[in-house]
């Protein structure tokens, strides 16, 4: 098994007393804030006009109708209940700690600034979303700054709203992280079609701006995503939402051990970095169906890397291919449909991530310059329960079964299933 990188080490090693103290503090804040929030709920119906001042209804601060500012706070504390790796030294770790602010100016300009206090999203800076979004009209909006690339339904779902404590393996591995760029987006065809198209500065964290050859071949990372929603927010009937989407990201990777890697729940890598050089192409397809009490959604993702001049002899290697996807089912067992208010959901997700190469006929090897990369897959079955205690407080529990599959038997890995049970306490304003 590949050892964790230095940034991985310590995910479950934070001092327990620190985590506990923060957990208690967060709980106290929740209790304190829940009183006025409840009081405001009672007077909600009577409110007609937006007035300046703090609006407890949505936690925002407003200055007339033209300015809305909304502070954001997120604290996620995770508790590892059980795993197959043996005795657990420290059960507590931080899932995420962020503060930020978002808002809207003159009904035209939206903005967000968010900062993290730990590396919770494979980012190379503490800054998360820092962008301005200008709305010309519904069909044409322009966003500039640092934000998530439009690829993958689950990657573009906020950590606050994830159905499980961790995103699917393929989403974590294949979908790109945030980057600095410009994107146009909007809804057309009576809001049935949503599009996003952007250009971003970097190529998977590698700044290629100093390399004119790369820029000429690259033109930065180009992305596009189209979502078709034949049914949206339908109040009655068996189907309330239905959408399908496809997405594409293309960029150029510099020569080196720069392939993406798969990770286990504890962040240990289970696949090696491979030498790549050339175009990286990501393709994604997504679908979602939401009924009154049930939701089914899934994605198929693929990433191919060119490996020009990466063979031992200096020649080209076949493309590196990484594929994956997931299928999630969620049932609301308590509470009203929608995201607000108290509710209990149960969910299950089956996800799979595979590593291989376009050449799958030669003798397979695991090395970073293998033409036929020995295939390796990870299957994960996750069962989850989400208890929305309060609009700002959520408790999640997940039970995971992770299995590595070495179909050709050339890797020295443990293929026994690994079970993990973990809980998350989330405060999110």
């Amino acid at each position: 098994m590949i050892r964790p990188t230095p940034s991985d080490i310590g995910r479950w090693r934070c001092a327990p007393h620190v985590a506990l103290r923060a957990l208690c503090a967060a709980a106290a804040v929740v209790l304190a804030l829940s009183v006025p929030a409840s009081a405001q709920q009672a007077g909600k119906q009577g409110k007609q006009k937006v007035e300046s001042g703090v609006q407890w209804d949505d936690g925002s601060i407003r200055f007339g109708e033209s300015v809305r500012i909304e502070p954001k706070v997120r604290v996620q504390a995770d508790m590892l209940l059980w795993n197959d790796e043996g005795p657990i030294e420290d059960r507590f770790s931080w899932g995420s700690r962020r503060i930020g602010v978002n808002g809207e100016l003159f009904n035209r300009v939206q903005f967000q600034v968010e900062r993290a206090f730990q590396n919770d999203d494979d980012d190379d800076t503490p800054w998360r979303d820092v962008y301005v979004d200008v709305r010309i009209n519904r069909a044409f909006q322009v966003r500039g700054g640092r934000f998530k690339l439009p690829f993958s339904l689950e990657r573009n779902t906020s950590r606050d709203d994830l159905d499980f404590i961790q995103r699917a393996t393929a989403v974590r591995a294949i979908s790109p992280a945030r980057d600095t760029g410009v994107m146009v987006h909007g809804r057309v065809a009576k809001r049935m079609v949503e599009y996003e198209a952007g250009v971003f500065q970097h190529a998977d964290g590698f700044d290629l701006t100093d390399d004119p050859n790369s820029w000429s071949a690259l033109g930065a990372a180009l992305t596009g995503r189209v979502i078709v929603s034949p049914i949206r927010d339908k109040a009655d009937g068996p189907t309330r939402d239905l959408h399908f989407g496809v997405a594409l990201v293309r960029n150029t990777m510099p020569e080196g051990l720069n392939s993406v890697v798969g990770r286990l729940f504890d962040n240990d890598r289970f696949s090696e970095r491979m030498n790549v050089n050339g175009q990286r192409t990501r393709l994604g397809a997504e679908g979602l169906w939401r009924g009154r009490r049930a939701t089914i959604k899934g994605e198929l993702l693929q990433l191919t890397d060119q490996r020009l001049q990466q063979a031992i002899t200096g020649g080209d290697l076949s493309d590196l291919v990484q594929r994956g996807g997931y299928l999630t089912g969620i049932v609301r067992v308590f509470g009203k449909p929608g995201r607000r208010g108290q509710a209990v959901d149960v969910a299950a997700r089956l996800d799979r991530f595979t590593l291989g190469s376009a050449n799958d006929t030669d003798e397979p090897f695991t090395n970073p310059r293998a033409d036929h990369v020995a295939p390796l897959a990870k299957n994960t079955l996750t069962f989850g329960g989400n208890w929305q205690v309060h609009r700002w407080v959520r408790v999640q529990g997940n039970l995971l079964r992770e299995t590595l599959v070495d179909s050709l038997g050339v890797r020295d890995i443990n293929t026994e299933p690994r079970w993990t049970a973990v809980m998350r306490f989330q405060f999110s304003l």
């Binding site: 031992i312 002899t313 090897f365 090395n367 970073p368 310059r369 293998a370 020995a374 020295d412």
Partner: protein
Amino acid sequence: MFRPLLRRLVIGLVLQSAAATSVQAQTTDDLFNEGAVQTLEITIHSRDWDTLRANFTSNDFYPADVTWNGLRARNVGIRSRGLGSRSGVKPGLEVNFAHYSSRGEFLGLKALVLDNLTTDPSMIRERVAMAFYRRMGIPAPREVHANLYVNGQYAGLYVIVEPVDTAFLQRYLGDNTGWLYEYHWLTTYVATFLGESLDLYPPFFEPRTHQTQSTFDLFDPVRELFRTINSAPVDSFRDSVGARLDFESTLRLIAGEAFMAEWDGILGYAGMNNFYLYRPATSAPARILPWDADHTFQAPDYPLLAGAAENVLMRRILEDPVLRARYFQLVLEAVNAASSGDWLVNEITKDYQQVRDSALADPFKPYTNEEFDAAFAYLLTFARTRPAFVTSQVQQNK
């Protein structure tokens, strides 16, 4: 019109078949054939070779193809190796055929060592020493010189060393089901009792087989071996330790190393070094196997008992009259093995003549050609004078 084509086809098939037969027929005996300097070719991405040489202190593996005598092992792992011999100019290399595939092997070998010979100006000490140990009946790795080419460029004269692994154990001991440990020098260790905690033993004794077994299964017998060496009463020392350590093979190895003036072996200048410990799966006692003999030939008058008083095992062996007598007997056997028919002189001369052209052409050796020739002359002096000196030492001490 078709007849020439058919004839060419038949001839081609016959030649291909013959070539395939000769390639398949090759064994490790051919690889370690001492009759000639072998030729090894490594094909590696130039970027990886540059990185390996720049980061020669790292143990990172890089993929490469290795070709010997028409046989090509693809996608093997190579890494820089060695302790004092590490070099970025002429890296010592471990070639691991199974690093990138659990099925990987080459002539039945899982790995090979390419010794860069940077600590020995004669470039033949280790090979001669290992041949001498085998002549004494000690299981010792086979070694053969090889011209190494990397991406078509001459990379210097190396020695291919047979690894001490399960194939080695099967070949020499007829059993490879037991526990093999590679000793790592960490500090001056002279066979004292390290302590009760089993965590103290893995840093010194790295398991090379049964690695997935529990710490207790792996290291309790090692702990008990050294506990017994240190605490067994004088009158039962031979029986108690003898049940855990094979005295005959151990004394034979120490005698061989003592004759060869091994400065960095079992009784090394800084404690024990350069050996493997093998514990058979049966109730048979453990054995010590030699490794890395490039510090032999230290001096013709290197004391026979250098390091013996400091080493608990050897000190207690010499306190037992039976073991002491047997030890000196084995030392005289070593003297005889070296001097009988001028074996040692002839072996040194043969090896020197065989590798001289390659050594002189080696642009990366850290010695001049004059130093190479002078080192050969020194070895001859050693071979001619050492037997008499050791014999006199035996007379004085036995």
